[in-house]
Every structure is written in C-alpha cells, then in structure tokens.
C-alpha cells in the first residue's frame, strides 16, 4: 500500500508542482519588490509586517490560480517558460479578464454574468489595498512604540541635538528644520513630553530611527 508521502510525490509529479513553485517564486519576488519600492525609507520593516506577508501569500495564491487557469485554457502548455511568464505577468493576465463566477449564471434567471461575477482583478485590488493598509498601520504602530521607548530614555536637550544632527545631514531644508527645532525648544506653552514627541517625530521623519534606537541602547 502506497504511503501518504508516495501518493503526494506521485501527485506532485502528475501536476508538475515544480512549475507551480517557479510561478509562486516569481510572484513572491514581485510582491516583495512592490513592498520595498513603496516603502523606500523602511523597506525591511515594511517586509517584516503581517500585511506584507499576507500580500506575498495572496500574490502567490493568485499567480497559481492564473497559472492553473492558463493551463486549462491552453492545453499542453505546461512548460518552464509558461510558469516563468505567468509568475512575471499574472497581474496583466488578471486584468485581461479572468473572472471568478461565484454562482452559476443559470441559478439566477435573467441576470447577466457581469452582475453575478466577482472580477478577479477587483478582488485582488481589494485584498491588495487591505494588505497595504495593514502594512501602513503596522509601521505607524512601530513608530509609536519607538517614541514611547525614546521618551523614557532621552531628554529634550539630547533629542534636540540628535534632531539637529539628523536634519543637517539628511533634511532637504536644514534651515527650516533648525528654525523648527528652535521653536519647539523655546515654546513655553508646551509640556516637556509634547516637545519630546515633536522632536522624535522630526528625527524619525528624517530617517533617524536607527540613530534613536542606538541612543536608547546606549542609555540602557
């Protein structure tokens, strides 16, 4: 009697699972590059979020779906080139009009396919928007966590010094940033914590997150 492993191996050979893996790998690289390109300031942090992982998973799943649909539409087309091509261009193929039909057209009399069908590309766009939202929420949440840690460890003078360092080196408008730091420090109506939050936000906004983390580590 064939073991489960043998059955799986036979099934993998029958469906050419290796080609699905090629398509999936292409979709994975594509999705990861999209996340990196859309978050140039924090590519690694963005990739580490649950939203990014979900987006990659969805991309792989959709690429497999498109590959399976392409194989069904074009018989005997199973090849490494087909797998590679689908992995790279499945989004364009999706926009080309492969639709999910959740209900058979005959089940609702008089209803057209357009009314019943959920276009696959629209479904993907919605899922993609959800994932992007999750990535953004996670990144904002992490900035808030870092703010809390920094407030506990660093004082206003040190934060102002770091803000000057970072904005002088990295800001596109160092003069304006200097004036702003001065305004924050000399503003009498603001609590020390509010001043700290503003200075930390300014440092983070100028890609100074790593410097802040380093300063906090040194203090501990």
């Amino acid at each position: 009697m064939a073991s489960i492993v043998e059955v799986f191996i036979q099934w993998a050979i029958d469906v050419r699972l290796d080609l699905y893996l090629v398509t999936g790998l292409m979709a994975l690289i594509w999705a990861a590059s999209e996340v990196i390109v859309s978050h140039p300031d924090r590519p690694v942090q963005a990739l580490r979020t649950g939203g990014a992982r979900l987006l990659i998973l969805i991309n792989v799943a959709f690429a497999w779906l498109v590959y399976a649909a392409a194989l069904a539409l074009v018989p005997n087309s199973q090849s490494i080139w087909m797998a590679l091509g689908t992995g790279l261009s499945w989004q364009a193929m999706l926009r080309g009009g492969i639709n999910i039909q959740p209900l058979p057209a005959s089940s609702v009399a008089g209803a057209s396919n357009e009314e019943l069908g959920v276009p696959l590309n629209e479904l993907y766009a919605r899922l993609q928007a959800f994932c992007v939202g999750q990535i953004q929420r996670a990144l904002v949440g992490r900035r808030v966590e870092l703010m809390e840690r920094v407030i506990a460890e660093l004082d206003i003078a040190e934060l102002a010094r770091t803000a000057r360092l970072v904005t002088t080196a990295l800001s596109e408008e160092p003069g304006q940033a200097e004036q702003y730091i001065e305004r924050i420090q000399t503003n009498e109506g603001r609590t020390p914590e509010e001043k700290e939050i503003l200075l930390i936000s300014l440092i983070l906004d100028n890609r100074g997150g790593d410097i802040l983390r380093q300063r906090v580590r040194e203090k501990k």
């Binding site: 939202g133 953004q136 929420r137 904002v140 304006q176 940033a177 305004r183 503003l198 983070l204 906004d205």
Partner: protein, 92 residues
C-alpha cells in the same frame, strides 16, 4: 469615489479649492505615507494645533481620512485627495 466619477461628475469644481496649507498636508501624506496627526504637523514644520483646522477641512472635503488605531488615529490620503493633488498647479 473613483477617478472616473470625479472626472465625470466634476465634484471638485463645486468645492472651494484647497488652500496652500492644505495642499502642503496632502503633499506630505503623498510623499511619505499615512501618519499620526503629530507626525503630519512635523512634516510641514508646524505644531499640531496649527494643522487641526486645515486637516478638518480636508477631511470634510473627503481628501483625507482618519483611521482609528490602538495608539491614536492615522491620517490617510484618499483617492479623491490623490486626484486633487495631481490636478493642483504645484504638481505640474
């Protein structure tokens, strides 16, 4: 609202155009992504109370959206906001 709907219905022409400060906030959101209100203030070298009013106006016009988070609220540029920004002379 989709770009096509905005174009066809011409909704923006019925509203007063965004002021410079509002446009600066939209730019800040587009270039660096969603942010807490305090972060948005910092991006435009302002204090949070200085951007409160323009931010409210942008929200009323549907150009930005506030999304509740565990640690406060996040301001996000809407599709209508992106469209308005693209049509603004400062972008061209």
């Amino acid at each position: 609202m989709s770009d096509l709907e905005i174009t066809l219905l011409g909704e923006e022409s019925e509203e007063e155009p965004p002021e410079e400060r509002e446009i600066n906030l939209l730019h800040a959101l587009e270039s660096k992504g969603p942010a807490l209100p305090v972060e948005l203030a910092v991006r435009t070298y302002s204090f949070p109370e200085e951007i409160a009013e323009p931010l409210n106006k942008l929200e009323q016009k549907g150009l930005v959206e506030r999304q509740a988070m565990r640690s406060g609220e996040m301001v996000v540029l809407t599709r209508k906001g992106q469209h308005t920004l693209r049509q603004h002379p400062s972008v061209k």
